[in-house]
């Protein structure tokens, strides 16, 4: 299938991009790597009259170290993270997760900002960055605001961004040197969308022990205070059920096992 016709703009600055977004209203879509939007356009699932390509904006490719955290521009690609070509505040978790996103060809173009804003329930960054306690910075004509990643996704393909806003960067806190992380996802084949996904962070120095259950039917389940769960893995089955994550016996099983295998990675 081929896309409906659309106009294409490639602004050079964030200000220009915001102006174009404001003009076009609901009729525009922001284009970064195009790895999710491309197929949706081709399958005629979306029909924007205008695409605003933000990959030409230098600010969105920046990476800065602000002491406690690394701030990634929205257009940083999964491949750059996978390859370790850029700083990693997470002791290996981000490159590990990046390496498992889809296929390398997709990773060469797909962006961390795009993945968050697209808000596919199976997106690796939605789950992982929620576990790490990352925040995004969002800019509109009225100014900037920050949103915690675990509050960003409202439901499938829906975030708390309002019309005219652009996600510009992601602030990822540096994990302590003795922090432990776990990540497990179950895919039927390498590179495909996960059927179950769990991320775990144990960082007592920063007072952070979190479990995030992703690849649900909608937003991930965030267990912000997961110390009990991690110390009592037998309660995993109950957690899955109580959060309405067991569509059927198979679903319950693969989610239980994924969560257990992620928790296993942080156990001594």
């Amino acid at each position: 299938m081929k896309s409906f016709a659309f106009d294409y703009e490639k602004p050079a600055t964030i200000v220009e991009a915001l102006a174009l977004l404001g003009e076009a209203g609901d009729d525009a879509k922001v284009l970064a790597g195009g790895q999710s939007l491309g197929p949706m356009l081709n399958m005629r699932l979306v029909r924007p009259r205008r695409l605003i390509d933000i990959t030409g904006i230098p600010d969105l490719h920046q990476i800065t170290d602000d002491g406690d955290a690394i701030v990634f521009g929205a257009c940083v690609t999964h491949a750059a993270i996978e390859d370790g070509r850029i700083p990693d505040p997470t002791g290996g978790m981000m490159p590990n997760v990046a390496a498992g996103i889809a296929y390398r060809a997709v990773r060469n173009r797909g962006t961390i900002g795009g993945s968050l804003v697209h808000a596919d329930p199976a997106a690796d960054w939605i789950t992982t960055l929620a576990a790490i306690g990352a925040e995004v910075t969002v800019t509109g004509i009225d100014g900037q605001r920050r949103i915690a990643v675990d509050k960003l996704m409202v439901s499938t393909f829906e975030t708390s961004l309002v019309a005219g806003e652009l996600l510009v960067s992601i602030r990822v806190p540096k994990l302590s040197s003795d922090a432990k992380w776990g990540f497990y996802k179950f895919c039927r084949k390498t590179g495909e969308f996960a059927e179950a996904m769990s991320a775990v962070i144990v960082d007592p120095a920063r007072g952070d022990i979190r479990v995030v259950i992703g690849a649900t039917d909608t937003r991930p389940v965030v267990i912000a205070d997961a110390a009990t769960l991690i110390s009592k893995p037998e309660s995993i089955a109950t957690v899955i059920e109580e959060n309405g994550l067991a569509n059927d016996a198979y679903d319950a099983q693969v989610r239980r096992v994924s969560l257990w295998r992620a928790i296993e990675q942080v156990m001594p």
Binding site: A5, M43, R44, F186, R188, T190, Y250, Q253
Partner: protein, 785 residues
Amino acid sequence: METHSKTGKGIGARLTRKEDDRYMRGRGEFVADIRLAGMKDVAFLRSPLAHARLHGINVPERLRDRVFTHDDMTGVRAIRAVTGLPGFKVSEQPPLATGKVRHVGELVAMCLGETRAEAEDVAAEIDVQFEELPVIVNMLQGQRSDSPLVHEDWGDNIYLESSFDGDLTEAKAAAAVTVTKEFRTNRQCMAPLEGKGAVAYWDSRLEQLVVYTATQMPHIVRTGLAECLGLDQAKVRVIAPDVGGGFGYKGILTPEEICLGWLAMHCGHPVRWIEDCREHLTANANCREHHYHVTAYADARGKILGLEVEASVDAGAYSAYPFSACLEGAQVVSILPGPYVIPAYHCKTYSVATNKAPILPYRGVARTGVCFVMELIIDAIARAVEREPYEVRLENLVPASAMPYTNITGKDFDSGDYPKSLRRAVEEIHLTDIRARQADGEPDGRLIGIGFATFCEQAAHGTSVYSGWGIPMVPGHEQAVARMTPGGSLELRIGAHSHGQSMETTLAQVAHEVLGIDPAKVKLVHGDTEYTPYSTGTWGSRCAVMSGGAVATACEKIAERAASIAAYLMQVSTEEVRFENGEIVGPTSSMSLEEVAQIWYLKPQLLPPDIDSGGLEVTVGYKPKTDSGTFSYASHAVVVAVDPELGDVEILDYVIIEDGGTLINPMVVEGQVYGGAGQGIGTALYEEMPFDAAGQPLASTLADYLLPGPTEMPHFRVFHMETPSPNTKFGIKGIGEGGAIAPPAAIGNAINDALASLGVELCESPMSPRRILAAIAEAPPREGA
């Protein structure tokens, strides 16, 4: 025992492929690469419903000249693939739907645009009035007397019943062990890398409809187009350019080809349609869907005394041309016994009409399904008699000493040592080590299993077999044209088409074997009906035997004539010359093929007076000595690790011992085997098109329809045996499909072996994590568990 080419360029040589030079550089030319001035794109409006009456098609007035429906195509006939089999019911498939639609994706209207996107914009504006009808989505329910009908004038949904009525009384009485199982192989797509596509235009100089199409059988498509469009065949030219894989998907006359042919003549400009992935998946899920009830009777050693089978094949809504809807159903009956001695056999099969895309013969055809059944049954018997499954196979395989062997359904196995292939597989897979590893257990908790499958593959069967069927196309003599050029090169023309079979290389090797000519100086002309002799095309693993045999025969004739010219000029007898390295070598002198060609074409005054006037251009027809087909065979052995918590399966080792007779190019055969086995892994573990109760195909993109990729492929270890066929040139056998036949069986047996301790026995493919976990959950409680 392997044939080794003496020169490194003939039969048996691992010659690198000539076609790779353009393919590896991206210089192939496929249908989608063809650009003609004034060409417009077509998008089809396809039925969104599986079964519905078509009450009206509303097209906005301003688009009227860009939309075409059935009523516009006056004089165009429906696709009818009849057979001569008693009781066969004929279906009529109009190229564009009329009256009713019978499967999701059926063509309803054809839309023109400057680009495909524009054509889709046009299609989006059409409004169709459907009246939904009850949907037949389950072939077992479709057989019931109260089922709604796909074809109302039939009275039922059965294209054909096929049977083999043997008597099992003795077998039942003598059996020490009876095993009864129900099997299901699920529907899937073929997913060649290149989809279908066609470009059509009317050539007013030659007064001919020209259709470029991604097809395996240009001459059959030409015949079909001429019949449906009411044209003399001379007014139709079909050209298959480079084609990116067929596997049976392109061995058909398609409604799209007919529509484009008509449209090109109607509009007066070239038109094009290129299939996209969504069309392939949603409109063409058309293969592998079988169901079986099987009972096997065996003695205490596992020797099979009799087999009782009832099977159904979901053949979809129409009979495709030329193979018809009953190809697989009829095949099941005759090939289910596989490579085994089966003393008593009773089988009944139903080819059932449903509201799905018409069935096409996917690589391996019914063999993949029957191999799954036969091999899993053998393992079940082995468990019942408490013997190693390979030992039970050895109890039942046709032994080498019995060759040539006619089996219970009349299949003539030409040659081979089936038990040796299995023994070799057992050795190479290190069965004893695997059993020890299983006893030790795995540190990560996964369960190891090992599975075997042995099968034989009938190929290049001809007139005597197909005439009994009476399908629109019965293969006969295969023709080839061989022609030397004045420069000493050789042109070969065949009516089949090479789209992965490497014939540009292998047929050059055959020519080299006979004439000593460098394969680099041999050109294969194929794919164009204007330039090639009539052929039923490339299907059924027939080309190495048939086109190869025809090319060899044609080259032998050229050799006779070239020898007589050279011998005359060298003043020796023809017995004293031989062909070597592009030269004709006599006792004291030699001449190059080029010199001989020069004399024939440009200096006829030097020719021997009795030279055959046909000269250095010949057309020959060829058939093997017996045309009941060659039988290649193989044993597959697989080791898997099954994660009992997630149902995930990893293939740890995969051994294939194959015997394809004399191999023209072992590297090419290995490529065929790897590719086929890859597809077999898809069938075994990943590929499935599920349908909902309304007949909607649910895996509509590659996110849901899982194709195996490089990360799912094991490192196949392929070993060759070469038992020549007694009936063909050089002893060649067909082996194109074998790789795709055994994997679901071998992998199924391996999974069941891994899970035997949990009391699990899967009988349905693909063996997905969902099915594996369900089977584990449902397994009967074990003692001490």
